[in-house]
Symmetry: D2
């Protein structure tokens, strides 16, 4: 088992998918032990650190990577198994951002109204008790919510010669902001360029579905992933697999288009890998699917379609690579 440990120095972060040289070249099967900074590049540390003052665009949402996976070619699928995602600090930050978020007009949903006030919340993380503590800014209410660490941003270099900001979710993955991207899950990403060029970042100690204000409980993460390849199998939009569920994603606007993409992709996956007829799949998905929203705030909105594996015909989605990676993860964890 090859293990690569990588903690970027301040100048090592990347701010895009595509367009930068690899941080490292790794063979399929490599374990990556990574540090990821929070989306503010660590600059929002107190309630006085307003994003409009401490962040200089476009240097927001730093990514750790990219990793060139040897042998990855367009038409293949990259499998990224999340072994563990652990908050690297005992606090996290969230904030309103002027003209960003679902419950305000934005630069794209433009109005003549004034922006909402800019307010920062600092969340205490109790990593022993696995909770995140919310404290109201305009009252004395506090509450502990379960910690549920995840990565908002995971992706590869885009197709069509493009380079995309790390704030964008699209067919290459990127800033999908789905709480389903947690430890134990394998994320499948279609390869667009040789080496795939995987990066990830934007850790959230937890996040609601839709990421309503546009900012989650943002924190730096110590994350371990295993990367692998499914050769010769394309993956038009990012997919996820857990021990219990198959999941597809779509990222688009309006939100119903994101929903449609994820649902069509799920019907097609059930056909290609499990042999279910398209119309039978349409019917089964209609009655069995969960549709947890990921984000309704980013450049594209992201919708997830999620179905229980034990409700599906037998088969080995993506060639059974998730089970294999689960075993490797267990082996890795046993050696720590």
């Amino acid at each position: 088992m090859t293990v690569l440990t990588y903690r970027p120095a301040a100048g090592d972060y990347v701010w895009t998918f595509g367009g930068t040289a690899p941080a490292a070249r790794v063979a399929p099967g490599t374990v990556l032990e990574l540090f990821t900074e929070d989306c503010f590049a660590g600059r929002v540390r107190g309630t006085g650190d307003l994003v409009s003052r401490v962040i200089e665009f476009p240097f927001v949402n730093p990514q750790t990577g990219p990793f060139h996976v040897e042998g990855a070619e367009p038409g293949d699928t990259l499998a990224v198994h999340f072994v563990s995602i652990e908050p690297a600090r005992d606090w996290a930050a969230s904030t309103t951002v002027p003209l960003f978020g679902a419950l305000t007009s934005t630069h794209l949903t433009a109005t003549l109204q004034e922006p909402l006030p800019e307010v920062v919340w600092i969340w205490e993380l109790d990593r022993g008790k696995r909770v995140c503590r919310f404290a109201a800014r305009f009252g004395d209410f506090t509450v502990d919510l379960p910690m549920d660490p995840m990565h908002g941003t995971v992706g590869v270099a885009p197709a069509n010669l493009e380079v995309r900001s790390a704030l964008v979710p699209d067919a290459h993955g990127g800033n999908m902001d789905t709480p389903e991207m947690r430890a134990g899950v394998t994320c499948y990403l279609g390869v667009n360029v040789p080496g795939a060029l995987l990066s990830l970042g934007d850790g959230h100690a937890r996040q609601g579905e839709g990421e309503t204000c546009g900012v989650a409980v943002e924190c730096a993460m110590d994350t371990v992933v295993i990367v692998d390849l499914v050769k010769g199998v394309p993956c038009p939009w990012p997919r996820l697999e857990s021990d219990t569920h198959l999941m597809t994603t779509g990222s688009a606007r309006p939100l119903e288009d994101a929903f449609r993409i994820a649902q069509v992709e799920l019907v097609r996956w059930l056909r290609s890998d499990l042999g279910l007829d398209v119309l039978d799949g349409y019917q089964l998905v209609s009655q069995a699917v969960e549709a947890p929203l990921a984000n309704v705030v980013d450049t594209n909105y992201t919708s997830v379609a999620k179905i229980r594996k034990d409700w599906l015909p037998g088969g080995t989605p993506m060639g059974g690579i998730h089970e294999m990676l689960r075993e490797q993860a267990a082996a890795y964890l046993a050696t720590r």
Copy 2:
């Protein structure tokens, strides 16, 4: 405890919210024991019963009601507590409908393409085992999914002098198609006309989130509700309360507008009934909310915002009527 039992005769169903005389007048606190037909008016009984042949529009989605609730006036909120929702038959039906559903062009998302084929699935319901059996039409796969009965359509007469088809979800409720409308839940509906004029129907033995093909596992239901009033409290969009969660809904297009309405309504509810500041509520909801889609197929799409009560400041939403109705429901069930 006053109990009214009402099983409509064939000609008694209504097809709209508003526009018809009440089936009965009832006092707040009345238990209604109701029969509701399926959305096909019971006409789809086998795989040969195509909707395009057996249904004559607009006679689709029959509703049981309306009930005039004495004392209900504009500005009040009607509380409808679902005591029980039980399939009235041992089968249910689903189907594709030409130019209806999320994964096809429609009369509103119009294209020049051909419609998908029209196919009917008959689901077996095992009410003892509480499962719905799916059988593929184009293969021999079968699977049992958990029964989770719900009403797709619950509403009152609309505001603005309107009469709306029972296929429409909007601020008056109607065809919201959310799986959250299950037994144990209280549904709050703002009153627009004297007597409120409550109707319900469209029972589903179960449904996926989003109701992808536009048709759930449709079946007739034996349903018991208790109706009550929250005087002097408005409810701009339908809300739901369970023992564990507060939920708000929004119905609009595009889907992000439905999402925005539900989320804004939740932030406002936390402010009005639990005293949480708007920006603090925005932050807490952003990290704590679940956003299960209801439908992405009807005239308006419906999004739900759902938050755990034990994560909220103490208080008695809607004056604590849900707890009171839970007790009445228990008393009623004890006498059966």
Copy 3:
């Protein structure tokens, strides 16, 4: 030539399409000389008359009608030819309305922001010079814009047993707010109920495309129309015909759905009435169509597809009724 003159008394206006008894029964071919109030029911007369103070919802956008057209049955098309549309006063009013309009959040595109200020503009109309004078409220700029009178709202009783507010545009017509609804044009509306039940109102001395703030240069009108029937020809969405153009409309959200409906309807009209193949029509429309937006503010947004008749194959759209009505209009005008 039968002429009916109708000036509603204060209590005679209607506020919905459908749901009210006819004001009069008229034979096809009848000339209707009508008075229509402005959308404020005449209550906004000065800059101090804020809508939030002087209007009591839902009593906004009063309609003149409905007229039962003898012989009109579902499946027919009602033809409404606009002979003349003349401002009935020498002033008109416009205003911002809190949480209504394209450049503000609204009740449907909900945000947590404050509404824009409520401001009224009174426009002077010079009916001799055919101009509308704008005077800035926050500066001394004035400008004369050409008068181009039109009706924002024209429709019939809806299908599906519905009654719709006069603020709604949909397949039955209603509040489409297109500047194309001017004198010289014939408007085609599919008949949904016996007698069709035509109403109209919401005169605008002029309006920009999209009706950005949601309110045009609103004024009472003296309007003359001739009503007629095209028997046995359906009209799924409202269409317009001028001496030079065929036009179709679609009303839906999001706006691209309104665009799609109008464009599909135009391709289909060219096929059914002028024999152009669907794909050839798709190509010709793609290169030849104008797509003037009507409104991007109402319950549904309205898009118009407009093509020059002299670029089309020969034929008689809608049986040539527009030409016939033009001749009748000329005959009527000659007698005044």
Copy 4:
């Protein structure tokens, strides 16, 4: 007057905005005499040349450039004045493209339906008579439409370190596909990177509003532009100025967001350059604006807001550079 003539060799075209070295460095005020290939890179020459066969993605929509304009820095505005746009051949091509266009499901508006058939139309261009001849493929109808040459794609390198496909319209310009981009117009583009990096292409002999099928009357062009700079003046979204109109654009999905951007930008332009109060501008625009759709088919949809200059307060938008460039264009044309 400095003139640069540039006719790219086959390998010289670029397929993105950003991400490539400049073809040339030019001083502000330079006249560029350019050749642009059609969007098919000249490969669709007959009705048998289906895009799915002759085009290899992503090599579609070739651009001529980029040009580094000396002195251009972020925060400045690039002015591109179109002196002339002339078809370089006596034919042009259009086509349906599988799963692309407004009247079909697409990769983003995904359904389970079959795509429409792929059909090519070859248009004859009569450059003397200034007409484009449509010939039906499935019938014998032909018609001559006025030639109205324009560029679908004009843009600079994007902000945020991005590189975008030439198929994308966004704040950097790109594939906006507006028929307003014709000779005599000045296009304003905000500068995001030193030198701006202007490219253009995608000539259309003519195009309908919305570009319904996604493909216009596509042809190679001989085009002359003059480039210049407005130092220290930002331009958040592309703007256009003709002798008679000011125009703003927005590119986003859903289409109402594109509309909102363009309209907000116009209100803001009237405030910043002509001193009109925001609410007065909102009112005047609401009654005076034209809103011709550009495209409802690309990755983002593009809406234009257009207002007559003689209806506006006096002033010199963008410092009066359009008038200056018009004089230079006249001087250039006089010397040819």
